[in-house]
Symmetry: C2
Subunit: 399 residues, 2 copies
Amino acid sequence: VINISQRAKNFPFSPIRKLMPLAEQAKKKGIKIYHLNIGQPDIQSPKIFLDKLKNYNEKVVAYDRSEGREEFLESFCRYYRKNKISLKTQNMIATYGGSEALFMAFCILFDKDDECLTIEPFYTNYLTIAQSCDVKLKTVTTALENNFQLPPIKEIKKAVGPKTKAVLICNPNNPTGALYPEKVLKELIDFCCQKNIFIISDDAYRDFVYDGKKIISLLSFKKAKDIVVVCDTLSKRYSLCGARLGAIISRNEKVIKSALKIAQSRTSISSILQSAASCLDQVPKNYFSKILKEYQSRRNTLIAGLKKIPGVKFGHPQGAFYLIAELPVKNSEDFCRFLLNDFNYKGETVMLSPAKGFYLTPGLGKNQVRIAYVLNCNDIKKSCLILKKALQKYTINSK
Amino acid sequence: VINISQRAKNFPFSPIRKLMPLAEQAKKKGIKIYHLNIGQPDIQSPKIFLDKLKNYNEKVVAYDRSEGREEFLESFCRYYRKNKISLKTQNMIATYGGSEALFMAFCILFDKDDECLTIEPFYTNYLTIAQSCDVKLKTVTTALENNFQLPPIKEIKKAVGPKTKAVLICNPNNPTGALYPEKVLKELIDFCCQKNIFIISDDAYRDFVYDGKKIISLLSFKKAKDIVVVCDTLSKRYSLCGARLGAIISRNEKVIKSALKIAQSRTSISSILQSAASCLDQVPKNYFSKILKEYQSRRNTLIAGLKKIPGVKFGHPQGAFYLIAELPVKNSEDFCRFLLNDFNYKGETVMLSPAKGFYLTPGLGKNQVRIAYVLNCNDIKKSCLILKKALQKYTINSK
């Protein structure tokens, strides 16, 4: 028998997507599902993008520049300028969404068997990306009780070894919604500068920060210009998950030169979509303020709803659109399957992501779920009610 | 000083794209360049695709299924059925063009330090992709004198070691235009089946076969169903290089299951472009026959033109749209730079790819170039004349 690689055998299935077949079965039975499992916003994509797409009038859909179309990169620069960060197009390479930017960062910063330190719970795809380039992922753990804030720098110091080439953070955090304050980030920067360790910053949710707080970009720390690599994406910013547009950004010239070589190896990203996206920084400012207001209400609605369910604990997310909740169950994956397979409330159910897949440390997250509050407040209210009813029934069943 | 990985330092620049900055400078000086360096066809993309793109009317550009949109995968199945190959959507995962399919194949079939055997000269991107997952590329060499046909199976046997997990072929071949006959492929299949070695087949050019010859797909060998992994793309088939749409195809379930896990780690490919591409198998049959006729004329025009240049040798390509030519120069990269930097004939010049980058064995290809015959016959005629004039001037200069 012919064998695939050990590497491939070790790849995890996405905890966000692995229950999809069960959801499809439930839908076939006529059950309506509230999708709180995936960070797919229901916000309309900007009209300016859709219009430009309709007006695409090239006759030959040709390759683009490997580094990204000039006007596309310039629109990133203008977006950052509005956010008080000065960048040049030479500081970035266009990517297939944030995921390719992450892949490039891993390829460029690590050799095989090197270590990447990240914060647990983490966006699972980090693990597959690390494994695909033979990088070992290590974690420091954050806790619900502490609102998933970064641990003290001394714990990070303890976790860093001679093989640690970079620390990977996601701010605001997927899956916890934690927002890291400037002081803590500054400590991390100081430590990494001193130790000559890169910081990879997954900034997918940088536009989603609530309660009047501000996002601190690692690009704003001048002293860190050689060690900071930012993975950015338009997926959440402009509700364009299906456009697969992003960028890897760094002021370290060697990093960008290497990213260009990887970019050349896959020719270019889509010329059509870059062309449509180059105008996105013209989206009016109230586009964001409206969305922010909406998400803040959704978060508040979710929190209010969860508070009414006995035995459920959760942190207070200040950014992104996720929340980690601890449920009064032993095995949240089993409960998530139950929600799709064996339960409905008036013909409706909810889909959640079991949180175990967001942890590396065995045993952690087993009774937790990630909830993506990407639906309107009314649907979130209904989802909380369904969740409450489901927990009641599940608890009785398991007795 | 902080250091990037050794892996990244070793990445090559694309020989096809590395001279682009020189081309941009030449254009700024007002010089017209005939781009024979890159496989970017000038053929119009199908109207059916562009129309569907204009009619895209989703309000939210959402993620798609990681494995690919059902209707997109079905259109692949229909295309293959027309070509007498029966596949199910479960045999494939949609990818960002052929390059991601290749990357997935490398990730799935090889562990670090395993070896992939390919045929030299080869599409350079194989090297970057192999390096990004720490796979060693080994080669058996094919020669211009032999029209770049596969070497006898005994030479392949000799090159296969205990670490060789797969043989990678490209048929018809980029960069040589060689088409492999059924008998030779059957021998290769028999050998790999016996040895339990995968075959990765880069089928990017499967629709471009001339002189009334037929392409033999490795998917048509029943006995090889577990060992064959095909990397397919719409880039050349439908002149959609900038759409970045392709698929990894295999009847080996473990391969496809692993590909799905990698696919999940980058969420999905573009929903917009999959939607527009799902109708492409409805392209009328004469779309291909017209294109084939055109390319065959271009190839004949190129050969006729090259024959008039003293000291130029080349094979007789039977597929794809490339030709490897040996020039009467010592260093073809230096000559390619000369073409862009120091030469023009009546305000025009040509851009070629130095062939050294398509070889792994040091010293090979140094006096060769890859010529992509992707322009109309008139432009190819002009390009040959320019090449002739340039070689005259270059030879005088170097004396």
